[in-house]
């Protein structure tokens, strides 16, 4: 079983489903009961996920709390879950953000509350499942499953152009992932040819030596699938649509967790499975990441719509994460992981904040506002904290992540890092400019003069995020320590593998190349 002698991961993953079952039996007109029930389940879910954090062993890179049961024996598919330093914080982030999403939807969602909460909880299970899966098919199933509730969240409760956004979101992501599925099959048979075992077990497949030419194509399939999810320039076009149309809770989950699935996928699947091909792809990815940083920032700068601005800032922020990971040094990778959390918190908070204003005024256009700080001082404070975190001011979480990424990037690619740094300046520009236009300037719109400040529920929603901004800004050590061993292991295996492949390629006729070649021949010939 595992350290706790208790299937804790399964409990955490599937607990929201219980909530769904209970919600199904509540009368659909008892809206407050539905909201309350969903909230209770989301909170319990958060609390039962905490033991994962507290019993987590910092010193090891091995998978923890592992559970494994045979699922489809003849095909070698098993229910195999576990977590390590790479996934632990994203899991906690997921269970942390879900109750906030329930809270922020309390009055925002008035129609079909029951179905909304059901989708939200289903989505939570799917996301957690994808984060803990160590079997490729299990992962794929959860990965696709995430699309369904998100599709409904956008399509049913979204804005005016919701259908376009929902279908685009679904098709984009699904189109990317089917090629990953084929690559998974290929890997599966390659493994069978080499070891004689049919398995989708990720840890077994890590050990596989894949011929370089094959690796390139398999890696490409995985990369495209994850790059769409991240989203990396130029595959990002679904994101602004999805974000703008989605209800606030949908945007928060989308930005907070779903996008991290892409970067997480790179670290968990694509890079360790195909180290040499990743190595070959590194320059491309790094350049695209930097383009994403600058492009996202420039486009954000000119957005008239606050939500769209935040959406494009996501493209920019995720560019940093990718740059950090593909710097392949400790600072970069850890910074990338840290930035994933930061982005979840700061962008999550920004979406909440924009949503709160939208709920009051039913517009998100920057030009409709001005001088809001005078009528909504508490709101202005939270907005300021989220803005500062997003522009990475020292003392906030954003600074730690961005700083580490840039340090890592300077070590790996000095020239690119210079460009990336300019993105940080642009980031300050678009965020602070938006803040200025919305919160300061004369309060000349009559409608804005009667705006009510945040109520208790809204303060409770934002407060945990605001606190975390500073906690993560001042005490990054606690968070980073849990990632240390896993990041170290990730880098070490990556470098070893790349060195091995390079040696094999250099020696040409050496044994390794021969073995690889043989594999290659076998796989190209149909049996």
């Amino acid at each position: 079983m595992n350290e706790l002698g208790f299937p804790i991961i399964s409990l955490v993953t599937f607990f929201p489903i219980f909530g769904v079952l209970i919600l199904m039996f509540i009368d659909k007109d008892a809206k407050d009961t539905i909201r309350g029930t969903a909230m209770v389940f989301a909170m319990i879910e958060f609390f039962i996920s905490l033991p994962l954090l507290f019993s987590f062993q910092n010193g090891t890179a091995a998978m923890q709390f592992v559970e494994r049961y045979t699922w489809i024996k003849s095909a070698g598919i098993s229910y195999f879950v576990g977590l390590d330093g790479i996934s632990i914080w994203i899991i906690i982030l997921t269970t942390f953000l879900t109750p906030l999403c329930v809270l922020c939807s309390w009055t925002y969602i008035q129609k079909r509350v029951k179905e909304f909460m059901i989708c939200l909880l289903l989505l939570e299970t799917a996301m957690l499942g994808a984060l803990v899966s160590l079997d490729l098919i299990l992962f794929y199933i959860f990965w696709e499953l995430m699309l369904i509730p998100m599709y409904f969240l956008i399509g049913v409760w979204g804005g005016d152009n919701k259908i376009y956004a929902a279908v685009k979101f679904f098709l984009y992501t699904a189109a990317g992932s089917v090629f990953m599925l084929l690559a998974i099959f290929f890997l599966y048979y390659l493994n069978h040819k080499t070891t004689g075992v049919y398995t989708f077990d990720l840890l077994e497949l890590y050990k596989l030596n894949i011929p370089v030419s094959t690796q390139f194509w398999l890696c490409l399939a995985f990369f495209v699938s994850f790059a769409i999810k991240v989203p990396m320039f130029p595959l990002h076009t679904w994101l602004p649509d999805a974000h703008v149309q989605a209800p606030t809770a949908g945007s928060v989950i989308l930005a907070g967790v779903l996008l991290k699935m892409g970067t997480y996928g790179f670290m968990r699947f694509a890079i360790p499975l195909f180290p040499y091909a990743s190595h070959q792809f590194t320059p491309v990815i790094a350049v695209l990441a930097v383009i994403g940083i600058i492009y996202g920032a420039l486009v954000a700068l000119i957005q008239p719509d606050m939500k769209k601005l935040v959406a494009y800032s996501s493209v920019s922020h995720l560019g940093y994460v990718m740059l950090g990971i593909f710097a392949f040094n400790m600072q970069g990778v850890q910074g990338g992981l840290y930035q994933m959390l930061n982005h979840g918190i700061s962008t999550g908070a920004l979406f909440l904040i924009v949503g709160m204003l939208y709920e009051r005024r039913h517009t998100r256009m920057i030009k409709d506002f001005g001088g809001i700080a005078k009528v909504m001082p508490i709101y202005a404070t939270f907005f300021m904290i989220a803005t500062l975190s997003s522009v990475a001011v020292p003392g906030t979480n954003g600074f730690v992540g961005e700083f580490m990424i840039l340090v890592g990037a300077f070590r790996a690619y000095p020239v690119l890092a210079v460009f990336a740094t300019s993105g940080a300046i642009l980031g300050a520009l678009y965020m602070l400019w938006m803040y200025q236009r919305v919160m300061f300037q004369p309060l000349d719109n009559e409608e804005n003069k009667v705006l009510k400040d945040l109520n208790a529920r809204e303060i409770v929603t934002l407060l945990p995020l605001a606190i975390l901004v500073f906690v993560m800004g001042f005490f990054p050590g606690y968070f980073l320590r849990k990632m240390d061993a896993s990041c170290d292991h990730f880098l070490k295996t990556y470098k070893q593998q790349v060195a091995m492949y390079e040696q094999g390629l250099e020696e040409g006729g050496a044994k390794l190349a021969a073995v690889l070649e043989e594999n290659n021949l076998q796989i190209t010939l149909a049996d």
Binding site: W71, A75, E144, L145, F170, L171, A174, L182, L525
Partner: protein, 487 residues
């Protein structure tokens, strides 16, 4: 002097089919002699009959044999096809009992009788060990279906559907029969197993024009029944016009039976020629799924859309046919069952969309249905996701088994085209969900509340879809054992 031996009647080998036929005859008798009240019980009677057939099938499983001088192959493969046919018939009858209230024309003894005879024919097609047997079974099935398609006597579209299907179907049968005749002329046997041994023993005859011509004509005949490109033209019109429950029955049962016969003839009878037909089928698979999916996008009627989708699914199954390994054939069986559950379910939902004398089968009629009729909406969503191959529904597992086997056997491009097609198909499957949940209704439609039988049918189909999607081991192992035992 020739000694005439009376063959011992091996009833056990044909017990399920026998039960289907007996029930059909009983239904006919009850219809004649029972009064008005008796007629309402015809559906129940048929249900019991199909259930008994299913039960006998499961109980006699394992005693695989060749019976009636090789005419009948009661083997694992036939077992699985009969299983699919029984499930399909059972769900169709359940849905029909609800559909009676919307379309009163089908409230006649002949309806259930023909349905059962069609199932009888389908089952024999899966078990046939002789080309003549295949033809007789095919005609039993087809003639019943021709009549069923035209059952709405006063509806022009239904009549058109029946006539079109009959004319083209008769033509296709002619092709098939002529193909059989050519092969018989070349080899002197109609027994499928003997054909295989004959070709192995006489490789020189393999590429004789008569054999090649025979195979080409058979491909046309079978291709028509499975709706393979370019013999798919009839599908949309026939599917649209036929009574909705019959459409579901046709789309699943006929397809399963025709694929069964196709596989048996080609893999047992013409196995030595595999290399020759693989290329043709490769192209056919690609075109079938691509044309099916692309044209489906443009449809505004859901029955037509599902007709094109059924063409596309035939294409996916043809991928497995091209791959041709044992596991690929198991994949075909698994896929046919998964497809049957989802498709029958979807057509059942469509058949429930109506009130007396009025049916709603335009896609725009589905706007807002998801929230207005939550059960129908939820069920349709499950079936659509299954057909689109999104986990955790059965369609995903079906595609999983087929595509992974294709990759393993080196048909990488075919698998790539297969998944590209899956993505294309997502667009129109999602379109149904978009209308049901994301759009407001354009006009008010009111439908009669689905009867208990309909709810049962939908629940069973949804259970099948989810069970095969989440815990496919049992059915998959069954399919693997069945596909291995093809005699």
């Amino acid at each position: 002097m020739l000694e005439f031996v009376v063959p011992a009647l091996n009833l056990k080998a044909i017990l399920p089919q026998l039960l289907l036929a007996l029930t059909a005859l009983t239904v006919l008798l009850v219809d004649v002699f029972a009064g008005k009240e008796g007629k309402t019980s015809l559906g129940t009677l048929s249900l019991v009959g199909v259930f008994a057939a299913l039960l006998s099938l499961l109980l006699t499983r394992g005693s695989f044999e060749s019976a009636y001088a090789g005419m009948l192959m009661a083997d694992g493969f036939g077992f699985f096809i009969t299983l699919i046919v029984c499930c399909v018939a059972f769900l169709t009858i359940l849905a029909s009992m609800n559909y009676e209230r919307i379309c009163p024309e089908i409230k006649a003894g002949e309806y259930y009788c023909l349905l059962l005879f069609a199932a009888f024919g389908m089952s024999f097609m899966g078990n046939a060990g002789n080309l003549i047997m295949i033809f007789v079974a095919l005609e039993t099935m087809s003639i019943s279906i021709y009549v069923l398609a035209g059952f709405k006597r006063d509806d022009l579209k239904s009549i058109e559907s029946a006539l079109k299907y009959f004319l083209l179907g008769a033509f296709a049968s002619g092709f098939l029969l002529f193909g059989f005749a050519l092969v018989y002329g070349a080899t002197g046997t109609l027994d499928i197993v003997k054909l295989g041994t004959f070709f192995t023993a006489h490789p020189e005859i393999l590429h004789h024009p008569m054999v090649m011509g025979g195979i080409a004509l058979m491909t046309v005949g079978f291709g028509f029944k499975i709706a393979m490109f370019p013999f798919h033209m009839w599908t949309p019109d026939v599917y649209e016009g036929a009574p909705t429950v019959v459409t579901g029955f046709m789309a699943t049962g006929v397809k399963a039976a025709a694929f069964a016969a196709l596989i048996r003839v080609f893999f047992v009878g013409f196995a030595p020629l595999q290399a020759d037909w693989t290329t043709i089928m490769w192209v056919a698979a690609l075109l079938t799924m691509t044309i099916g999916n692309l044209v489906a996008i443009a449809q505004t009627n859901i029955k037509r859309m599902l007709a094109y989708s059924s063409i596309a699914h035939a294409g996916y199954i043809l991928i497995a046919f091209v791959v041709g390994t044992d596991l690929a054939r198991s994949g075909v069986l698994f896929y046919l069952l998964a497809y049957a559950f989802a498709n029958i379910g979807a057509f059942a939902v469509i058949s429930a969309m109506g009130k007396k004398g009025e049916e709603y089968s335009e896609l725009s009629d589905f706007a807002g249905v998801g929230f207005k009729y939550p059960l129908l909406g939820l069920m349709m969503t499950i079936f659509m996701f299954s057909m689109a191959g999104i986990p955790p529904a059965a369609g995903f597992m079906g595609k999983f088994f087929i595509f992974s086997e294709a990759i393993k056997s080196g048909y990488i491009w075919l698998a790539v085209f297969g998944v590209i097609n899956s993505v294309i198909s997502l667009y129109y499957y999602l379109g149904v969900i978009v209308r049901m949940y994301f759009q407001e209704p354009e006009r008010e439609i009111s439908i009669i509340a689905p009867a208990g039988t309909m709810i049962l049918a939908l629940s069973l189909a949804a259970f099948g879809v989810l069970q095969m999607g989440m815990f496919p081991s049992y059915i998959w192992n069954l399919a693997r054992e069945s596909a291995k035992m093809i005699m």
